[in-house]
């Protein structure tokens, strides 16, 4: 699929990213680049290891990347999770974590289908 179709498939606005990035090529490059990024996996690992500080940091980084790439749904989910983890306590974050996983899967599945 095209990059525009990818953005539509994940419920995000291609045009608003285009306005910020200024070139279609750049959006495609970085959207595809997201598939290789390990921030999400690092975050999951930190949560498994009950490392609250690292999990917060990774959620925060994920949030920043999604914000830049305009992955609105995943951004919102990681935003909530970041706030859950900010106080360094590993409690009450589970629901938001599940949401992040769910939204990540949607983005990941689509992003790998972008044509070259």
């Amino acid at each position: 699929m095209t990059t525009r179709e990818f953005y539509e498939s994940i419920g995000a606005s291609y045009d608003s990213v285009l306005v910020r990035f200024g070139s279609e090529k750049m959006i495609t490059k970085f959207a595809k680049r997201f598939a290789d990024d390990t921030t999400f996996q690092d975050m999951c690992k930190a949560l498994e290891e009950k490392n609250a500080k690292e999990a917060f940091r990774m959620a925060h980084t994920l949030k920043g990347i999604c914000s830049n790439l305009g992955f609105d749904e995943l951004y919102k989910a990681s935003y909530d999770l970041t706030e859950d983890l900010r106080d360094g306590e590993l409690s009450g974050y589970e629901q938001d974590y599940e949401k992040v996983c769910e939204k990540y899967k949607i983005v990941y599945d689509s992003v790998t289908k972008i044509d070259n």
Partner: protein, 646 residues
């Protein structure tokens, strides 16, 4: 009622303006023979040919515009009942409009009479010229910079910005204008600008446009110029500015940095922003011309280097790509890496883009480190983060960051903020180096004046001339040593510099001593020695009489040294017999230096002693008693002293 009557009646005599609707219709028929349009406007709705006056009034639709005229005279007339006229444009046609308050069947109306002014109805040829002159003068005044006579920024905004005319476009920025303005006054600054405009004018054609774009920034638009010609002209302008003298300020040397591009079918606005970037590249060298991809007078401009610090690869790459290829980009994935790179490159890094949340050392810790090492003064930092709570932004500014960019990034915002900050710091760095050069110059001149003065004294004393140099050196050595021996005396940084300088003046009072006594080869008689002793008070009095500089620290220190450099720690010196620390520490130090150097130098009345002999004489108290701490200090610096004697 005839036309005449309608338009000559007294403004407020409403009775005379009252008509019935049939009267007014006849009236309108008559008026239509003279006017192109006649209409009645009512406040609350249509009547005959009318619209309504109050909003939402549609009367403006007549003028083929979508909104009420700014200068709606009917509304004003409706409110205050006074007649008015105005000129209104539609396309290229001019209409004259009259508004008049009338009452029809007791209801208030405004009658509007509209007459198109064609060529025939215009004034006689002479008057027409007058009007055109008046209008064009107004035009000229509005678009001319009052000081320099160049076009002003408004002219650029209104007339040039959107133009796509093929042209050479150059930004010309004066180097260090702020310095002239601040140090020589605003009159000098104004004269500089006038001079520069004259210098540029001499190089350009009538068809070229020179705009005063900002305070000291000029924009030159040269339509249709050839590429070679353009570069040649810009270099000529640069040379002309360099060679120009500012009337009344012959000490000012001008130079300018110039960036030039071709508009190549783009709007002038875009060309200006490119020219601005090249100008700023030229600025790093100063007195330089940089044209689009072509030679610059002083070699290739250097690319600025930027350090991006973010723990996320993607985010770093996005920023890097947004900044394009005009910068050399360094990347750091952590605070520690950032510090490493900064230690390595120093001010070679022109700007740091810094994330807040990072593992181990976070953005705030990096800022803390930068502040501690005074890097933040020289290397601007722009914070980037999605951590955009007011408190973290405030905290970042408190740490001295220049700007703050929050996610998501917008490429134009990122680019512009980076560009602006680098530009600002480049200017600032150049100003700092200029100011420190000047301070050094000034300091050098001061030291030179003092050397001349003390040389005169020495020459008259028949001394070698090295005495002053030696005293200054020994004083410095003792001053450096003193705080390692005791913390009893507080010598400020300024005093540390001023005391050696003032030490050179310690014997200026000898100017007032008779030659015969001063240069007597043999031993002085008791009377002669008493006269000789007055030199310390004479020197002090000379300095005291310099009313104008009485509060200057240098003068105060010099006074103390002159008066008391022959006092002794045990109170047996002269002229005042001060004891211990009643004698200012400056004078105590100079007295030790003076005695040591007198011993190791040849004088009319004695041969030079060796360093060892001189030290022995002082330590045995044969030259009077000194502050024991200073004697210790003197011992500490023996090696350096011995070298000096050789």
């Amino acid at each position: 009622m005839d036309v005449y009557k309608l338009w000559t009646c007294d403004d407020n005599s409403e009775s005379q303006l009252s008509s019935t609707s049939s009267e007014i219709e006849k009236e309108i028929d008559v008026l239509r023979k003279t006017f192109d349009f006649v209409r009645l406007l009512k406040a609350d709705g249509p009547h005959g040919v009318s619209g309504c006056v109050e909003n939402p009034c549609q009367c403006f639709s007549f003028w083929k515009v979508d909104e009420p005229c700014e200068n709606c005279i009917s509304l004003k007339t409706f409110i205050d009942k006074k007649p008015r006229t105005k000129l209104e444009f539609m396309g290229t046609d001019i209409y004259q409009v009259f508004s008049k308050y009338v009452q029809v069947d007791g209801e208030p109306y405004v009658m509007e009479l509209i007459k198109k002014l064609d060529e025939d109805s215009l004034l006689g040829v002479q008057d027409r010229e007058k009007i055109m002159n008046k209008l064009s003068k107004y035009h000229k005044a509005m678009y001319t910079d009052a000081l320099t006579g160049a076009s002003n920024r408004r002219y650029f905004e209104d007339k040039l910005k959107k133009s796509h005319v093929p042209a050479g476009v150059a930004m010309i920025d004066l180097d260090d204008f702020k310095v002239y303005n601040d140090t020589c006054g605003h009159d000098a600054g104004d004269m500089v600008l006038v001079t520069v405009v004259d210098a540029i004018r001499r190089c350009i054609r009538k068809s070229d446009v020179l705009v005063r774009y900002g305070g000291d920034e000029f924009l030159l638009v040269m339509p249709g110029i050839q590429e070679d010609d353009f570069a040649h002209k810009l270099r000529k302008i640069k040379r002309n500015i360099h060679a120009a003298t500012v009337p009344g300020y012959s000490n000012i040397r001008l130079s300018a940095s110039v960036g030039g591009v071709f508009s190549d079918g783009n709007s002038l606005d875009e060309a200006v922003s490119k020219a601005d970037k090249l100008m700023y590249q030229a600025k790093t060298k100063k007195d330089t011309v940089v044209t689009d991809g072509h030679e610059s007078v002083a070699g290739e401009p250097q690319k600025q280097e930027i350090l991006i610090v973010d723990d996320s690869n993607i985010n770093r790459e996005i920023l890097s790509e947004m900044l394009g290829n005009e910068y050399i980009i360094h990347e750091a994935a952590s605070g520690e890496e950032c510090i490493d790179l900064l230690s390595q490159y120093g001010t070679g890094i022109s700007l740091v883009l810094l994330d807040i949340i990072m593992p181990e050392m976070d953005g705030f810790e990096v800022l803390d480190y930068m502040a501690e090492h005074h890097w933040i003064d020289d290397i601007p930092v722009i914070m980037i983060s999605s951590e955009d709570s007011a408190s973290s932004i405030r905290k970042a500014y408190e740490f001295g960051v220049s700007d703050y960019i929050s996610r998501p990034f917008d490429s134009r915002v990122v680019y512009q903020r980076v560009f602006n900050t680098i530009k600002l710091y480049a200017k600032q760095r150049r100003l700092i180096s200029l100011v420190s050069d000047q301070m050094y110059e000034k300091d050098k001149n001061n030291r030179m004046m003092i050397s001349i003065l003390s040389q005169i004294v020495e020459f008259r004393n028949g001394e070698s001339g090295s005495h002053v140099v030696n005293i200054k050196r020994i004083t410095e050595l003792l001053l450096d040593r003193l705080p390692m021996r005791t913390n009893k005396y507080t010598v400020s940084g300024t005093e540390q510099l001023l005391i050696p300088m003032a030490a050179a003046l310690h014997d200026i009072g000898k100017i007032g001593i008779d030659d015969k006594i001063l240069n007597k080869p043999g031993r002085l008689t008791k009377e002669e020695f008493e006269i000789m002793k007055t030199h310390s008070a004479i020197g002090a009095n000379m300095l005291e009489s310099l009313e104008q500089f009485r509060d200057e620290p240098l003068l105060k220190i010099a006074h103390d040294i002159c008066r008391w450099h022959h006092e002794r720690y045990d109170g047996r010196g002269y002229p005042d017999g001060l004891k211990g620390d009643e004698i200012p520490i400056s004078a105590q130090i100079v007295s030790v230096a003076d005695v040591y150097d007198a011993l190791v130098s040849e004088r009319v009345y004695k041969k030079a002693y060796s360093h060892e002999k001189a030290m022995a004489l002082i330590l045995n108290g044969e030259c009077g008693t000194f502050n024991p701490v200073l004697v210790e200090c003197l011992k500490d610096i023996q090696n350096e002293l011995a070298k000096g004697v050789e």
